[in-house]
């Protein structure tokens, strides 16, 4: 794959190096030549210095022949604008945008590209770990709007149904594992202590579940 990485800060340098190590052709762009010092010494992709909104700079980077573009500078505006150009002018199919400032999230959503919001995601993950380390997050969809959680059924809930335990909305059942065997349960399934339950839920749903688990 031919990939263009716009921005060579921590995220850009790491992403470029990973892609290079996987055998892809990588071109990294940055306005400052000194940013390329962030790259691992054995990185052998191309580096292009220049203003990234400049059409000549984009052409020099070979954007017309790119399979994928990742915009990962620490300016949300630059990331959104370059991604939009890649989409409407160069018809790149795979485009990923870094969301730096959480306040910018809705503008990114308006542009409609795939967005990675590492700041919001990190803060939310920490928030969950602070609330209750006993409900584990095992998978995160989108930017963590919906996540899959796993928890063990505590003693007081044995004999009652899954429907009684789970909050009525903001969550859906994924799997129940009993004695190493996973099944697809429904809300009428009777619980046993130590059952491992996987559910997908929003942050509010997970919060409601934690409150349920805490009260006998």
């Amino acid at each position: 794959m031919n990939v263009i990485v716009v921005g060579c800060g921590r995220v850009g340098a790491d992403l470029a190096y990973r892609l290079y190590k996987r055998g892809h052709q990588v071109t990294v762009l940055d306005t400052l030549a000194s940013a390329f010092n962030n790259l691992e010494p054995d990185f052998r992709g191309r580096t292009v210095e220049g203003e990234v909104l400049n059409q000549d700079v984009l052409r020099r980077a070979g954007i017309a022949h790119a399979d994928a573009v990742a915009t990962v500078t620490n300016s949300d505006a630059i990331n959104a604008v370059v991604a939009h150009i890649a989409h409407v002018v160069y018809h790149i199919r795979t485009i990923v945008v870094r969301n730096y400032d959480p306040h910018w999230r809705r503008v990114h959503e308006a542009f409609g590209r795939q967005v990675v919001s590492s700041a919001s995601w990190g803060a939310q993950r920490m928030e969950e770990l602070i609330y209750d380390p006993n409900v584990y997050r095992v998978f995160s969809a989108g930017n963590g709007e919906v996540e899959i959680y796993e928890f063990a059924v505590p003693e007081p809930w044995a004999g009652r149904t899954l429907g009684e335990l789970l909050p009525p909305d903001q969550c859906a059942v994924v799997a129940l594992t009993r004695a190493g065997r996973a099944t697809l349960p429904d809300r009428d399934t009777r619980l046993e202590a130590g059952d491992l339950i996987d559910i997908s839920a929003t942050l509010e749903g997970a919060d409601a579940l934690r409150k349920q688990l805490a009260k006998p």
Binding site: L53, N54, A77, I78, V81, H84, I85, W104, V107, A110
Partner: protein, 229 residues
Amino acid sequence: MFVIIAGGGRTGSQLTMLLLGQKHDVHLIEHRRDILSHLHRELPTEVIYEGQATDLRVLEEAGIKRAQVLAACTAEDADNLALCFVARTQYQVPRTIAQVNDPRNAWLFDEKFHVDVALNQSEVLASLIEEEMSLGDMMTLLKLRRGQFSLVEEKIPPGAKAIGVAIKDLALPEQCVIAGVIRKGKMLVPRGATTFEAGDEVLAVTDRQGAEQLAALFAGPRPVRPPVP
């Protein structure tokens, strides 16, 4: 009209004062502390909204949902582009205007980002200066179509090529029309048979290239300045 202006720098604040003076309803968004303190001294408090224009909550608070015009005048081209894009796609603002800070980014300021009008100050200024240098005595009275065409006026000096030639026989540039001739204080409606005399003031509508050719037709036999040694 209700106008939202993003960015209270020189252009934004000047525009705000101008529009307020014409009794328009204006809200100005700015986040830089030092600039805000300036603005508060010059503008009524209810006009100023503090915050980042690219934070949609701030835009909404400033009333973007009922804005008739968004003028994006921040110092960052990418912000101006994103603002025009969200104004149209999220809030259906009927008219968007954006300031171009770096002329090299001018190629982005069009329908790609829903920019209706791009204000490229450095380009406008540069072409004005260039025109002043190359067109000699020709005067631009009016700019049409964002400066693509102009209404120009030129006085025909004695000895000019065009004297005594009928308009229909004059090799006029393609994108150029003689709109009027003022002779001895009277306006003549030009016809194909009209001939020019020394001292005529000619009004023409023309594009940039046409203006140069016209200037050459109407130029007098100027003494050539010897090259500087």
